[in-house]
Amino acid sequence: MKFGIVRFPGSCDEVDAQLACARLGDAVILWHAERDLRGVDAVVVPGGFSYGDYLRVGAIARFAPVMGEVAEFARAGGLVLGICNGFQVLCEAGLLPGALLPNPSLRFIFRQVELEVARADTPFTRACPPGQRLSIPVKHTTGRFYAPEPELRRLEAAGQVLLRYAPGHNPNGSLRDIAGISNAAGNVFGLMPHPEHAVDPLTGSVDGLSIFASIRDQVADRVPA
C-alpha cells in the first residue's frame, strides 16, 4: 500500500499526513509541479495554507500541475482524501460538491471536536468503530461547509455525508453539521477535521487512524496481494 501526499507551496500538514500514513503503509510526497503520481494507491491532499490562502482558499492550488493527475486518478476510481485545505482544494477543483466559507467568527479556530460517523460502510470510514464518536481536532479559518439547499438535500439522500460534527461540536456553522463529504462515486472524500493529528495517544487521540486504516483496507480488498 502506497499513499501519496501532495505538497504545494504553503502546505503545512503534509509531513504530519505522511507520518500518519506511514503507520499503515508507504507514504511519499508528491511535488505540486510534477505531473507524476509515482504509482500511489491513494492520494492525500493535505492541510495548510497552499499559496498562502491568497485570493481564495484552495483557488490557486487546484491549478497546480499535479492536480491534473489527481483529477485523472479520481476519474479512474482512485481514492483521494482531502484534509482541511485539501478539502477546500478539492471543492475548488470540482472533485467535491459545495464550498467552504469563512467561519462566522471570522477567526482561526483550533479545537478538539467530536464527530459522528454518518456512514461506516464507505472506503474512507469502513474501519471506524460503529456507533462510536471520533475525537479529532479542527484548525481553520474557512471551514463552514456550504451548498445550496437542493444540493444539500441531494447529498444527504445520496449518502454522501460521511461525517458530522456531534451535537454542540459544530465549530464553524457548517450547514447540517457536515464535517466530511464524498463525491457521488464515493472515491473522493474531504473533511475539515485533521485525522492525521489524531493518530498517537501521546498527542491526544488515535481516532483519526481509522480514516487512514479504512483507505488501506479498501485498497487491500481491491488489489489482491
Binding site: 507551496p9 503507520r23 493529528h197 501521546l202 491526544g204
Partner: protein, 725 residues
C-alpha cells in the same frame, strides 16, 4: 519644528548625539556621505548597538555543558542529545505593534522565525508574551489585544509552526506602550548548524527572498527629504507587511540549501536591513564586503542607495556562497519560488563598500559600524517612593473566601486564555504532547513522532515574567521569573537546559529605570547561577514609556528543558478521585505584588518573600523526579493568586473537586511564585511528601476559608477574557 533659520543638524534628526557624531567625524576624518550617515545612525542606535545595555548583559552567565551556541549568534543553541540541538530566542516587536498591531505582531513572529532558521534550525514552536492596558477600561487595549493575537496566529498558523504557549498580562502602564514578545524554538542536527560570519574573500554574497521596498524606512526618511526634496518623506510607507507564504518558501529553501551544504554562512535581515546584516557578517568574519545596490531586486522604482541599505522589507536572508556553487543555490531557490540574487562579494579589506554601479555610496571600515559606537554606563538610583500609582478597587476586601477566589479567577490576568490560544494552531508538526492549558509547560516530542511504545524524549518550554512583582523588587521579581519558568518545566518532568530573555524597560537614561534594569539583570544572573542554567540569547527593548512614565519593568524569561520520556509528562489537572495532594516546597507567600493586592487597589510596592534558591531548587527536583518516576500524576506550580488559585486550576483542568487543609497562618491568596507546587498521585506514591488533601467530590474545599463548586470555578475562569478578544 525646525525651520530654515534654525536647522536641526541631520545627525541629530537621525538620533545621533553631537558627541557621537564627533566620534564618527574623528574616526572617518571626513564628513560621512548620506548613505554612510544613514547606515551609521542605525548601527549606532540603541536597537542595534545595545549602547545602554551591553555592559550590563556581560554579567549574565552564558556557559554550560549543553551550550552549542551562546549569545551573539542569531539564536542560542543547546544540545538535546541524539545529535540534535535546539535553537531558541525571544524578541520584542513592541513599538511597531503599538502602531499597527496586526502587522506588528505578525512581522514580530516572522522575524523571530528567521533568527531561528538562520542558524540552520527548523522552527518547531512559537510562544508569545503579551502586555496591554486594562481590557475592561480601555477599548484601545482590547483593539491591540485582538489585532495582535490575530497577527500572531496569522503568521504562525500560515507558516506551519505551532504556537504552543505564552502569557498575557494587563496593567495600566502598558496602555500606550503594549509589549509583543515572541519566542521561537527550532531543531537542527548538529551538522546543519551554521554561523553568520562571512568568510572567504572572493566568495559571493547572495540575497534571498522578497523584493526590497521602502518598508520600515521611518527614521532614516529624513534623509529622503534632504536628498529627494521636501514633502516626499511623508509619503514614504513605513509599515512592514508580513508575508508568511513567502517566508514559508524561504524557510524550506534555506534548510534545503543547508542540507545540500551549499552555504558558507547565513544571516537573516531584520532591523536596519542589509546594513546591519552585512556589517555583522563582515565583522564576525573579520572580512570586508563589497555590495552593489543596483543588483538588489526592488519592489519600487527609484530607490536611493541609502534606502536600499536600510530597508526593512521582511522575508529576506543573506548568505555567503562559494563562486562555483552560486548556480546550484539559484536552482534550489527557483524550486522554492524564492529569489536569489548575487549582490556582492567578500573582500579582504575589512571595509563595507557600498556601490551603486560605478558610484561609491559608502566606504566605511566595518569596525566603525559594528564596534565603535560608545557604550554608556547607567546611572542607577533606587526611587524613594513607588513609581506606579495604585489602581481602582476591583474586588471588595470584605468579600468572603469563595467570592474572592471567583473574582480572582475571572480577573483578566488569571482568567482562561482560551479565547486567545484557540486562535493558534498548537499541533502542526505532530510533536505537541502538552498544548495550552494541559500543563504548565508545553511539551514537544523530539524525533519523528513515530516511536510508539518506545521511550519518547521531549523538550519542554515555558515563558514567564510578571512586571508587578519586578516593580516591587526588581532583583527578586526577575529572579522569580526564572524560578517560575524552571518550576513550570519541573511540572512536566523536565530539567532546564538554557534560557533566553527579553528585557522590556522604560527609558534607561532615567536613573530609576536604570536601577530597575540593573537590579533585574542581577536577579536573573543570581537565579541562573543558582539553578545552573545558562543564558543563550535574548533581546532588549528600552524606551517603553507612556505619558504617565515607564512601563512596569518587564523582563520576560523563556526557558527550554528536556524530559527523558514524554509518556510520563504530568498534567495540571488532578487525575483521579482518591489521589492524595501534597504541597511541595518551602512556601511563605506574601501579599505584596499579588494579583489580589492589585484587585484591591494596591500599587505594586512592598517586600517580596525572600528567595531561598537552594530550597526552590530542591522542590523543583522533588517534583521533577516524582514525575519521571511515575509517582505523580498531576503537578502545578503555585503562582498568581496563590494556593487558592493553583488548587482551583488543578480542579478545573481535572474536572474534579478536592479537599485541602490550609497550613497554619497561610494566606491562601498570597504569592511566592517559583518555589512551591501542588502535586497529586496515589497516596502510597507520595510517601515522604507533605500531604495536605485529597482529590474528589464536586467542589474545592480549602480548610474553612472557602468551598466552591468546580463548575462555578470553571465558569468564572472561562468568563474572564470573553468579549475582550
Amino acid at each position: 519644528m525646525s525651520n530654515v533659520a534654525d536647522p536641526v543638524p541631520r545627525h541629530r534628526e537621525l538620533g545621533l548625539t553631537d558627541a557621537e557624531y564627533e566620534l564618527i567625524l574623528n574616526g572617518l576624518r571626513r564628513e560621512p556621505s548620506p548613505t554612510e550617515l544613514a547606515m551609521l545612525s542605525l548601527m549606532w542606535s540603541e536597537h542595534c548597538a545595545y549602547k545602554h545595555s551591553k555592559k550590563l548583559l556581560r554579567r549574565l552567565p552564558t556557559e554550560g555543558p549543553h551550550v552549542l551556541m551562546g549569545p551573539g549568534e542569531n539564536a542560542g543553541v543547546v544540545d538535546v542529545g541524539g545529535g540534535f540541538g535546539v535553537a531558541f530566542k525571544v524578541e520584542s516587536h513592541n513599538h511597531p505593534s503599538a502602531v499597527e498591531p496586526f502587522q506588528g505582531a505578525a512581522t514580530g513572529v516572522g522575524g523571530i522565525l528567521r533568527d531561528v532558521f538562520a542558524v540552520g534550525a527548523r522552527p518547531i514552536a512559537v510562544l508569545d508574551s503579551l502586555r496591554f492596558g486594562e481590557p475592561a477600561q480601555s477599548s484601545r487595549s482590547r483593539y491591540l489585544l485582538e489585532r495582535a493575537v490575530a497577527g500572531i496566529g496569522h503568521y504562525g498558523n500560515s507558516i506551519g509552526v505551532p504556537t504552543v504557549g505564552g502569557e498575557i498580562y494587563f496593567e495600566p502602564s502598558y496602555e500606550q506602550n503594549c509589549l509583543i514578545n515572541a519566542m521561537c524554538l527550532g531543531l537542527a542536527p548538529h551538522d546543519r548548524l551554521i554561523r553568520s560570519a562571512a568568510a572567504g574573500p572572493g566568495n559571493v554574497l547572495v540575497l534571498l527572498g522578497a523584493l526590497t521596498g521602502r518598508d520600515g524606512i521611518g527614521g532614516a526618511s529624513v534623509l529622503a527629504s534632504a536628498e529627494l526634496g521636501e514633502g516626499d518623506a511623508a509619503k514614504r510607507p513605513s509599515v512592514q507587511i508580513g508575508d508568511p507564504f513567502a517566508e514559508k518558501k524561504l524557510l524550506e529553501c534555506c534548510l534545503e540549501l543547508l542540507d545540500s551544504e551549499l552555504l558558507v554562512s547565513l544571516q537573516d535581515l531584520g532591523a536596519a536591513g542589509l546594513t546591519s546584516s552585512a556589517s555583522e557578517m563582515a565583522a564576525k568574519g573579520g572580512v570586508g564586503l563589497d555590495i552593489d545596490v543596483t543588483r538588489v531586486p526592488l519592489r519600487e522604482a527609484g530607490m536611493e542607495p541609502f534606502e536600499i541599505m536600510v530597508s526593512e522589507s521582511q522575508e529576506r536572508m543573506l548568505c555567503v556562497v562559494e563562486p562555483g556553487r552560486v548556480s546550484e543555490v539559484i536552482a534550489v531557490c527557483e524550486r522554492w519560488e524564492t529569489l536569489a540574487t548575487p549582490i556582492g562579494e567578500v573582500t579582504e579589506t575589512g571595509r563595507m563598500l557600498v556601490r551603486a554601479g560605478r558610484e561609491i555610496a559608502a566606504d566605511l571600515p566595518v569596525g566603525i559600524l559594528v564596534d565603535d559606537c560608545p557604550l554608556y554606563d547607567l546611572e542607577p538610583a533606587p526611587p524613594a517612593a513607588g513609581l506606579y500609582p495604585p489602581g481602582p478597587v476591583r474586588l471588595d476586601p470584605s468579600l468572603g473566601g469563595g467570592e474572592t477566589l471567583l473574582g480572582l479567577l475571572a480577573s483578566a490576568n488569571i482568567a482562561s486564555r482560551r479565547p486567545v490560544f484557540e486562535q493558534y494552531d498548537p499541533i502542526v508538526q505532530s510533536r505537541t504532547v502538552r498544548r495550552p492549558d494541559q500543563a504548565d509547560a508545553a511539551v514537544l516530542m523530539l524525533g519523528d513522532g513515530d516511536g510508539d511504545g518506545a521511550v519518547r524524549p521531549a523538550l519542554a518550554v515555558s515563558i514567564d515574567g510578571n512586571g508587578r512583582r519586578v516593580a516591587c523588587d526588581p532583583r527578586t521579581g526577575a529572579a522569580e521569573a526564572v524560578l517560575e519558568c524552571a518550576a513550570n518545566l519541573a511540572c512536566v518532568g523536565a530539567e532546564p537546559l538554557g534560557l533566553t530573555n527579553c528585557l522590556n524597560f522604560g527609558n534607561p537614561e532615567k536613573p530609576h529605570v536604570a536601577w530597575q534594569l540593573v537590579e533585574a539583570v542581577e536577579g536573573i544572573t543570581e537565579a541562573c547561577l543558582a539553578l545552573g542554567v545558562p543564558v543563550v540569547g535574548g533581546n532588549v527593548s528600552l524606551y517603553n514609556e507612556g505619558p504617565g512614565g515607564p512601563i512596569l519593568p518587564t523582563p520576560v524569561i523563556g526557558m527550554v528543558g528536556r524530559l527523558p520520556d514524554a509518556r510520563r509528562a504530568a498534567q495540571t489537572g488532578f487525575a483521579a478521585a482518591g489521589d492524595a495532594i501534597a504541597l511541595v516546597g518551602e512556601f511563605a507567600p506574601l501579599s505584596a505584588g499579588s494579583e489580589l493586592a492589585k484587585l484591591r487597589g494596591h500599587p505594586p510596592e512592598g517586600a517580596l518573600p525572600v528567595l531561598d534558591f537552594d530550597a526552590a531548587r530542591a522542590a523543583h527536583a522533588t517534583v521533577r523526579d516524582g514525575i519521571r518516576s511515575g509517582a505523580l500524576t498531576s503537578a502545578h506550580d503555585i503562582a498568581e493568586g496563590g494556593l487558592a488559585v493553583a488548587a482551583a486550576e488543578c480542579c478545573i483542568a481535572g474536572r474534579i473537586g478536592a479537599v485541602l487543609r490550609v497550613p497554619a497562618d497561610l494566606d491562601v491568596f498570597a504569592e511566592a511564585p517559583g518555589r512551591a507546587f501542588l502535586v497529586s498521585g496515589p497516596e502510597a506514591a507520595l510517601e515522604g511528601l507533605p500531604i495536605i488533601g485529597r482529590v474528589g467530590g464536586p467542589a474545592l474545599e480549602l480548610g474553612d476559608v472557602l468551598k466552591v463548586a468546580v463548575s462555578e470555578l470553571a465558569e468564572a475562569r472561562e468568563r474572564g477574557l470573553v468579549g475582550f478578544v
